[in-house]
């Protein structure tokens, strides 16, 4: 008998599928939810796992990986089972698959800031492998300043490829840096579409398993989890999954509810709120608790997070939606009146990061009177946002919408307080070290797409900026904003005529100042600018105008010079000859004509620099049609901004000339 090819293929595929399924079945895991950590303090931690069969649970742990001398016996491990319709103690699991056993082991009497290894046993049979990744680290004592490194994720729970990539990117980035997470915060929507028990297992626990086995995830509930879980009484799959402090056991004041709580890590105080299904008004119990909690804390840093963002124009609009408006109008005044430093949220599927703001409670949100520092906050750019030491009311907050952890990203508009808007998947890594909090947005390809920092020193008094920087209404994409980026030029053409000589005098602006928007135009008043001969720079002894104070202070320099085209010159034959380190953007009569080594933005907003050494060589950049169109009879202005890739770079060069080739 001849088997038709299609049937043959189908049979083969089915057989392969069965083999794969059998392989998976043969390796039926011991756990239906692998071990994960919860509720870490300076002296205790919870280890939680699930099985689908009866076991005699034991947890062994210890500082010495060879000798796990500590023991949590079965009688000290809470066992919760699938609900049968009757209440009881411990409370049954809300809606777990039939036969599920959830074990919650409390390990106490631990030393602060100490790494322990652990293993789960069924009687004498070890269920977890002998693997160093099964470990936990206790928190430092409250108030003791210790470095902290944590991961922020929101709106991730699809079990899709992007969620997996964002997770992998974080792990690879940390591996390359030799960094380990101290904790993981999730700002909600971790189990689409309704936060069911099964969705939690598949879209959260399975997806992050290698991280969750050694890093506590402190979660805020999202609206999707809110479809099956209730903040009011702490019931549902979300509250089965998480063990949140209710009695102040991890620091902060007792909330009496798992829906909102606080915890300490050394000198950092975290507050977690339920923005979804509890009263958000100032008189509500949550707001009252928040006010009392932040009045009490004596931490150096105050970090708040919840699901619904007070400021966003991503996939949601905080000017139109009630939960977002209420968090802004009612909760933000309490947080800022208590000196909050940074607020992480999700819900809106985008990455948006604000300038340093205060008092932006109006609806709709405007930038008027609320921006305290409109710089980019980048230590290698405009420098970190500065705040007073300790927690000082209304001293400035950075808002981060991190709803880009895995689901589709989108943008509705432009939130005027934002400094960085990126429509791509990713997550945020945050480090607190001494007086500086640093954060980076890492996309799903492990590329850093945004960096900013907050530095606390002495007494900093801010007043709102009258005419702050504003984000472009144009949607940002991965491609450059302004023009085509050129990585390198061409060899100099022989016999070219010099329109602007290599040693010509230019007007220049240095010292860390940035010019107004019209600085590239002919009618700009340059009288306050200094004058010097090209080239400009430091560090490699090839500069006529030495910028001695540039290193470690600033990274951008602006130069401009008038020129006239020679009679009868063919504009198509004009080009720039530039020796440069690292990047520059050139303009003729206000129009950008050449962008080299700068991915996006301009001036103080320029981003994505590519390293380039001048090596005392000139490269040639012919002008394109756009540039030719910008030329006019009579006087023209050539303006160039030069950028160093890092403020502490060892050298910088901007040395241009304008040529007319044969």
């Amino acid at each position: 008998m001849t088997i038709p090819p299609l049937l043959k293929t189908t049979c083969s595929a089915t057989a392969l599928l069965l083999i794969m399924l059998q392989a998976v079945r043969a390796e039926q895991p011991a756990f239906s939810r692998a071990p994960y950590l919860q509720l870490a303090t300076d002296s205790s931690i919870r280890i939680v796992w699930r099985t689908e069969r009866a076991i005699t649970p034991l947890v062994r742990y210890g500082k010495d990986p060879v000798k796990l001398t500590g023991l949590a016996k079965a009688e000290n491990i809470i066992k919760r089972v699938t609900a049968t319709g009757e209440s009881g103690s411990p409370p049954p699991l809300h809606s777990a698959p039939e036969g599920t056993r959830q074990f919650e082991a409390t390990i106490s009497g631990l030393e602060p800031e100490t790494v322990y290894r652990y293993a789960i046993f069924d009687g004498k049979k070890r269920l977890t492998p002998d693997d160093p990744s099964y470990r936990f680290k206790t928190h430092p004592l409250p108030g003791i300043p210790r470095p902290l490194y944590f991961w922020v994720v929101g709106d991730s729970g699809t079990a899709g490829l992007n969620q997996a990539k964002v997770h992998t990117a974080m792990r690879e980035y940390n591996k390359a840096k030799g960094a380990q997470l101290d904790l993981y915060i999730h700002v909600g929507d971790m189990a689409y579409g309704s936060g069911t028990d099964t969705q939690f297992s598949e879209r959260f626990f399975k997806m992050y398993e290698p991280t969750l086995r050694n890093t506590v995830c402190w979660a805020a509930m999202g609206n999707h989890e809110g479809k099956t879980s209730k903040g009011a009484d702490g019931s549902g799959p979300f509250y089965d999954a998480y063990i949140c402090p209710t009695t102040g056991e991890a620091g902060g004041l007792p909330s009496g509810k798992e829906a909102y709580y606080s915890f300490d890590f050394g000198s950092v105080h975290f507050v977690v709120l339920d923005s979804h299904d509890l009263d958000r008004k100032p008189g509500g119990a949550m707001a009252q608790w928040l006010k009392a909690d932040i009045e009490k804390t004596k931490a150096e840093w105050l970090i708040a997070y919840f699901h619904h963002p007070p400021y966003t124009k991503g996939s949601h609009d905080s000017d139109k939606e009630s939960q977002l408006i209420e968090m802004r109008e009612h909760i933000m005044p309490i947080l800022e009146g208590g000196g909050v430093d940074i607020v992480f949220t999700g819900h809106s599927h985008i990455y948006e990061r604000s300038m340093l703001i205060n008092g932006a409670y109006a609806t709709p949100t405007t930038a008027k009177g609320v921006i305290l520092d409109d710089g980019d906050g980048d230590p290698d750019g405009d420098g970190p946002y500065l705040k007073s030491k300790g927690l000082v009311p209304h001293n400035g907050t950075v808002q981060v919408v991190a709803g880009h952890g895995g689901t589709n990203v989108s943008r509705k508009g432009t939130m005027p307080i934002m400094r960085r808007i990126l429509v791509e998947n990713g997550s945020v890594l945050v480090s607190v070290k001494g007086n500086t909090l640093s954060a980076t947005m890492l996309n799903l390809n492990a590329t850093v797409r945004d960096s900013f920092a907050i530095k606390k020193e002495g007494i900093i008094e801010h007043s709102p900026i009258q005419d702050p920087w504003q984000p472009s209404a144009k949607k940002e994409t991965k491609k450059p904003e302004s023009g085509k980026v050129i990585k390198e030029g061409k060899p100099l053409p022989p016999g070219a005529q010099r329109i602007i000589d290599h040693s010509a005098q230019w007007r220049y602006l240095a010292g860390g100042n940035h010019p107004p928007k019209n600085w590239t135009t002919l009618n700009f008043n340059q009288s306050s600018w200094k004058q010097g001969a090209a080239g400009f720079g430091y560090g490699d002894k090839d500069d006529r105008t030495e910028l001695a104070g540039m290193k470690d202070k600033y990274r951008s320099v602006y130069i401009r010079r008038a020129f006239k085209l020679p009679d009868g010159a063919n504009p198509a034959k004009i080009g720039l000859a530039v020796s440069y380190d690292d990047a520059f953007i050139a303009y003729i009569n206000g129009k950008e004509v050449c962008r080299v080594g700068v991915d996006s933005g301009s001036g103080k907003d320029a981003k994505g620099f590519h390293s380039h050494e001048a090596d005392k060589k000139f490269e040639f950049f012919p002008l394109d049609k756009k540039a030719i169109g910008a030329l006019q009879d009579g006087v023209n202005i050539l303006a160039i901004e030069g950028h160093n890739i890092k403020v502490n770079s060892s050298d910088f060069t901007l040395h241009p000339a304008l040529l007319l080739v044969k």
Partner: protein, 311 residues
Amino acid sequence: MRKLPHSLLALFSIAIFLPCLPAHHDTEEMIARFTQRIESGKASAELHYRRAVEYRILLQPAKAEADLHAALEYDPNYTPAHRELAQLLAKRGKPKLAVKAARHAIFASRNLNERAGAMILLARLLAASGQPGAALRSCREAFELKPPGEVEWYLLHAELLALLDRDHERPDILAAGYTATYSIVLRNAWIDALLDAGDFKAALPVIEQELSGLRLKSSWRLRHARALLGLGRTATASAELAACLGELEKRIHPARPDITLIAERGLAHALLGRLGAARSDLRRARAGGAEQWMTAALERALSDVSKIDRR
């Protein structure tokens, strides 16, 4: 059998789950999707209810109300719609209809938890419509249905007692709530209730202990001053109130203040006999949406200016 590599398993599971990945939509898109399903003959109580919730989020209460009525036409016992409707009607200034909807929610409850929640909702709506006695009965029924109750229920219970001028009963209720839940909000409300009930001696040691460990002290300085005034220690109370005002000036945003702090400042002014400033803050707090209980102490202090020796 050899174990499959993790990466292969991951890809396999992604392939399995990819077709059923949930699509997430913003609020307007959700409304459009619900509308499409409703208009294509698939209308149900749940669909109308879910669209109503989205309309409520988008601050379109009329459309939300219409959808909730439509939901109840499909299923008159659909409890979530009754609850949502009751709250919506109250916000829309229809207290009688709101109470009626809450009673329906109680009737349609499917279990004790739902019934207790609906009783609390009814209690709130009755209180808002000027029936504190009936509200108190409803609140107490909820406690009986679902002991030990929730943080908010104890606060409501105490608030209803205050409305009925039964301040002396409040401390015990709040103390019981604190014992049951450990909520610091109930502990603080208990102290306030002791002060309102005139039990200054019981409140003072707790207040003084709390003050010593605080970063921002204005709320507790106020409580301290109230206790000291009650015990006749006016000079110390005045100094405490001055310190309270000093801190509040730093915390209150001049243009967009936190109304809880405005209410505190108003009370401090009132206790210092600065009635003009106190009344101004009372107006500002009310204009900002302060609930009645938040300004109750301030109102009481304004009506009793003799509480402080102004010499």
